[in-house]
Each structure stands twice: as C-alpha cells, then as structure tokens.
C-alpha cells in the first residue's frame, strides 16, 4: 500500500509540472490550430537560462522571473516572423507551420549544443535532494515547491483567460477566428501573444524542473512528445483538460515505472495517447465540456 501511495504522490507531483507544460501547448493549439513541435525545446532553453543564472549564483526559482519574459519575447518573435508569414503562403499542404516548428526546434537544440556541448549539466541547490516525510510517504522538497508554483501559475492563467479583456480575446479567437475578427479582435496580434504566453509557461515549467532534473540539449524532443500527449489527452484547446491530461500522464508514468519497469515509462504514455485517440477522440474535453 505504501508503495502505491508513494507512486501516487510522485505521479501527482510530476503531473503538476506536466500540466504547466500542457497548458502552454493547448493554448497555442487552440488559437493557432497547429501543433507546436518545438515546445520541449523552448523548455530546454529556459532550463539553460536557469543554469547560466545559477552559475552566477541565482536561485532557480528567482531565475523564473528572467526566463519567463525572455522566452515570452522569443515566442513572440517566432510567431511574428516565422509562423505568421506562412499563413499567407499558398501551398498544397497545410502542415507547413508544424514542420516549421520542427525546424525551429532543431535550430534551438543545435545552438544550445554548440554553446554548451552535449554534456549533462546539473543545478544543485540546498533543497535539490531534500525530502520530508508524511507518515511513510516521502516528498521531494523541490518537487513540492514546483508543484505549488505550478498550481499558482495555472490559477493565474485561468484568472487571466476568464477575467481580462485580452484573455477573452484569446478564447474568442480559439473558438472562432473569423467571428473574433468581425468582433474587432486583432487576431494576428492575439496569435503572437498566445505563442509568447505558451513559451513563457513552458519556461516556468523548465525553471521548476531544473533543480531536480539534468539538463542537456536533446531534452526537448521527449518533452515535446509529452506535451502533445498531454494535450491530446485533455482535448485540444482545453485548459482544464490540459491539467487532467498532465496529471493523468504523470500518474501513468510513475505507475508504469513502479509496476512494469523503468524502460516502459515512455511506452505507457504513447499507448495511452493512441488509446485516447481511438476511444475518446477529443480527450477529456468530451467529458468535462470545458
């Protein structure tokens, strides 16, 4: 029973971070209707920002406030100068934007590899290896803090999307782009802001993950894969769904790692992905209607 509870706790804590990754992705997916296959690479970039700041003695949680604006600006630039021009181009395949994100991801990975080499980097803080116990269950300090901050960000995001004008415009664009344009929403600007927001959120996830994970340039790919699994699980464009999806993936991964073996961790995620596509296309959104 303890093993089960321990696995449960580990899964939920990891799920909180996954949710943060997923929300950024689902926002981009909802508004632009494209899959951002450079999401993990943006996170990797944020982790390196954290790493560089850490070598100067800045705490990872403080570098959050540097990495997020930086990645926001990068996201804005990517959307404005690389992705938006493609909408106008007349092509046979509509998947050009998706492919473009793959290209951007490659460029980001290689720039980082060029600068920092492929070596694994670590950020060691005083709380990296700290744990505390509730009963028989151990909690990793860094993961608990990360979970808390992730929750705070998620809540802030909800408030932003529901209460502010900008948030409403984003939701309107996601629901119906043409109608939003007719209502006077500058949808071009909204897509740019959304991509920036998505990049900023995933940057936050990167900073929170940095103290408990190792950092290397190829980290992006697997996390991009996780991000789209979460998004598909939750239902495209659904923020509530992304949270469910994140927690589900976190739980499934840690359950799989405990009961099947570490090497099955990734396969379980992918299997869930295919099962959801088959039996619940539309994801949890179909059940929650949000």
């Amino acid at each position: 029973m303890d093993v089960f509870l321990q696995t449960l706790v580990a899964g939920v804590l990891k799920g909180g971070l996954y949710a943060l990754i997923g929300i950024g992705m689902t926002l981009i997916m909802g508004v632009m209707g494209i899959i951002n296959l450079t999401h993990g690479q943006l996170m990797m970039l944020a982790m390196y920002v954290t790493y560089v700041l850490n070598t100067m003695g800045v705490d990872p949680y403080i570098s959050l406030f540097v990495a997020m604006p930086l990645l926001f600006l990068l996201g804005v630039a990517i959307q404005k100068y690389l992705l938006n021009p493609l909408i106008k181009a007349d092509t046979i395949l509509p998947e050009n934007q998706v492919l473009m994100t793959v290209g951007i991801g490659m460029v980001l990975t290689e720039i980082v590899r060029f600068k920092f080499t492929s070596d694994y980097k670590y950020i060691t803080t005083t709380y990296s290896n700290q744990t505390f116990f509730l009963g028989e269950i151990s909690f990793s300090m860094a993961l608990v803090i990360a979970f808390g901050i992730a929750l705070a960000f998620t809540a802030a995001m909800f408030w932003f999307l529901i209460k502010t004008d900008l948030g409403r415009s984003i939701r309107a664009t996601a629901q119906d782009k043409d109608a939003a344009t007719l209502m006077g929403v500058n949808t071009g600007r909204i897509t740019v802001i959304t991509f920036g927001l998505g990049a900023g959120l995933v940057a936050a996830a990167g900073c929170l993950l940095a103290p408990v994970y190792y950092i290397f340039p190829d980290l992006g790919g697997p996390f991009t894969a996780k991000a789209f699994i979460i998004t598909i699980l939750g239902g495209l464009g659904s923020t509530v769904g992304a949270i469910f999806g994140g927690v589900t993936l976190g739980l499934a991964e840690s359950m799989g790692a405990t009961y099947f073996g570490m090497e099955y961790e990734d396969i379980i995620g992918l299997t869930i992905f295919v099962l959801v596509l088959l039996f619940l296309p539309g994801g949890f959104k179909r059940l929650t209607k949000v």
Partner: protein, 334 residues
C-alpha cells in the same frame, strides 16, 4: 516519349557515373541520394498526393531494416532476402495502423504516425533478446566495392519513380488527389476514402521498407536510434519532399539530390573548401571557420528547414515558375 526524354537522359547519366567516378566517397553520397529518392517519392505519394502527412516514415524504414537484419541473425539467410520481404513487413505494420488511425485527419494523423515511430523504437530497444536492443545488428556487407550497391539503389530509385508515375496517372492516383483536395467531397462522390488512404499508405510503407532493407545491406549496421530516428529519417523524408516539390513526380528526386548535397556540405564544411582555403592562404581564421561549420552541421540543416519553408513552400519543382521569374528579374537585360 519526348516528355520522358529528360528523366531518361538523367538516368543514363547516373548509370554511367561509376565508370568515371572511382572515388568511394562520392559513390557513397550517390547511393544515399538514390536511397532518398525512393523514400522521398514514397512520402510524396502519401503526403503530397493523398494529403495525409506522415511524420513517421522512420517507422517503415526501421521495419524494413530490421526485417533484413533479423532474418540474417535469426534464420541465417542472406540479408538480401530483406529486400524482398522488408517492404511487406512495413505493409504489415502500416495497414493495421492505417485502418485504426485513418479515422483521424490532418495534424492528428501526423501525430499518430509520430507515435507509431516512437512505439516501434522503444519496442526495438526493449526486446533485447530478439532485436539486440541498443547494441543493434551488425552484419558483414556482401560486396567490398560500392558499385553493386550503387546499381541496386539506382534500379530501386528508377522502379519507385516509374511506379509513382504509373500510380498517379491511374484511377487511384486521381482518387488520392481528390482526397487531398476535399475528403468530404470525395466521399460524397462515392470514393471509399478509407480504402484509398490505406492503399496509399501501403504503397508508401512498401517503398520505405525496401529502402530500409537496402540501408541494412549497405551500411551493415543498425540500431533503434539509427533507423527509427525522427530527425535523420522522418524529418529528412519530409524535407526531401518539400524541397523538391510536394505533389510532383520528380520533385522528391530533385529534393533528395539537394538535401543529401546540402547535408554533406554542412557535415564536411563545404567539402573541405574552407579548410583548404585556410591551409592555402595560411589564415588561421578560415581554418577556424571550417571547424565551426563542421561542428554546427545540424544547425545549418535546421536553418535550411526554416528557410525552405519560408521561401519555397512548394519546393523547387513546384515553385519552378517563381524561381525562374525571380532569376530572370535579377539578371540584367542583355
């Protein structure tokens, strides 16, 4: 017949090349180029003609390669049997996958192909007893010289192009295009879109699998990260298609040539041009440039992806009119 004159001339030229070209390095590049013609044109049928963009060509490529390799390690037969069977293994994997996943459209299907590749890669890694896991499969190549491989690759490339041309001019070929243009309209006209998408997938899987088997025979070594590689196989296949021209018969052939050249150019620092220049002029900075370029070859590749999509979204063959206009405008009137 006159229309086919240019391709035939090119084929004759390529066939005569080993008589003149004795350098193994360039023969190797040519073999890679011919292999990519096969993969690129297979991708072009499923994505360019049928409109079902696949991000997981490596799955079929790996199936073919592993068929050849496993036949050799487990049954002890020649890996060349893989060339005959690899394509069918890929179909055997592709058809059930397609039957399930063709209910999804557009980007969802692309993601599913990506997942298929990931699953196969993990399976090949985990099933150590059967596939050798991360250690991979190593076989002795059948020929010391590269020339036999060259002609086998050439025969495959010609056969795949000829079959592509035949398919797209036949009735299913028009069905494929109608599915790409508007699936609902195609369905309302009585086309069994699910069936034809599966046919198109089977074709693509078959040729990609055969290319994988050739890779196994030629390279003599595979492991899950080499053949089920997202960037080096799947994305490269897409680039070959897009650079050359989506939905054109000869596009991928042009694309394969450009991409293999460019990839190698970055890998070798513009074929050692900068290093040579640096050595000749004695300038240390040029040697440095050469070093930096070789280190950053994947970066160059990535930048190329971005540029190609921005500037030539329909590829060299597809945007040929645009290129011609652009070039002639720049040229001074003389």
């Amino acid at each position: 017949m006159k229309k086919n004159l240019l391709p035939l001339a090119v084929v004759a030229l390529i066939a005569a090349l080993p008589l003149v070209l004795k350098d193994n390095y360039y023969l190797h590049l040519m073999i890679l180029f011919l292999m990519w013609v096969v993969i690129g044109s297979a991708w072009n049928l499923i994505a360019g003609y049928t409109g079902q963009v696949s991000f997981g060509d490596a799955a079929f490529f790996g199936c073919g390669a592993y068929t050849a390799g496993l036949l050799a390690t487990h049954l002890g037969v020649s890996t060349w049997w893989g060339l005959a069977l690899g394509g069918f293994t890929a179909i055997a994997v592709g058809l059930p996958f397609g039957w399930i996943c063709f209910r999804m459209r557009g980007a969802y299907f692309a993601l599913a192909t990506l997942a298929l590749n990931e699953v196969l890669r993990h399976v090949a890694t985990i099933a150590e007893k059967f596939t050798g896991g991360m250690v991979g499969i190593l076989i002795m190549p059948s020929f010391m010289s590269k020339v036999p491989y060259y002609y086998i690759a050439l025969a495959m490339a010609v056969a795949s192009l000829a079959s592509l041309q035949w398919v797209v001019r036949s009735k299913p070929g028009y069905y494929f295009v109608s599915i790409r243009e508007d699936q609902d309209a195609a369905e309302s006209l009585g086309i069994d879109t699910h069936l034809y998408k599966m046919l198109s997938l089977a074709y693509a899987a078959f040729w990609t699998g055969i290319a994988g088997a050739l890779y196994m025979n030629y390279m003599g070594f595979i492991d899950p990260h080499v053949v089920f590689n997202l960037h080096d196989i799947s994305i490269m296949a897409i680039l070959v298609g897009i650079v050359g021209g989506v939905g054109t018969v000869y596009g991928p052939a042009v694309g394969a040539f450009v991409m293999v050249t460019v990839q190698e150019m970055f890998r070798s620092g513009f074929f050692g041009l900068f290093k040579w220049l640096g050595d000749v002029s004695g300038s240390a900075s040029l040697v440095k440039v050469a070093e930096v370029l070789t280190q950053a070859h994947v970066l160059g590749f990535g930048i190329l992806v971005v540029l190609v999509i921005l500037v030539l979204p329909n590829g060299i063959v597809g945007d040929w009119g645009k290129i011609k206009r652009g070039v002639f405008r720049i040229k001074p009137a003389s």
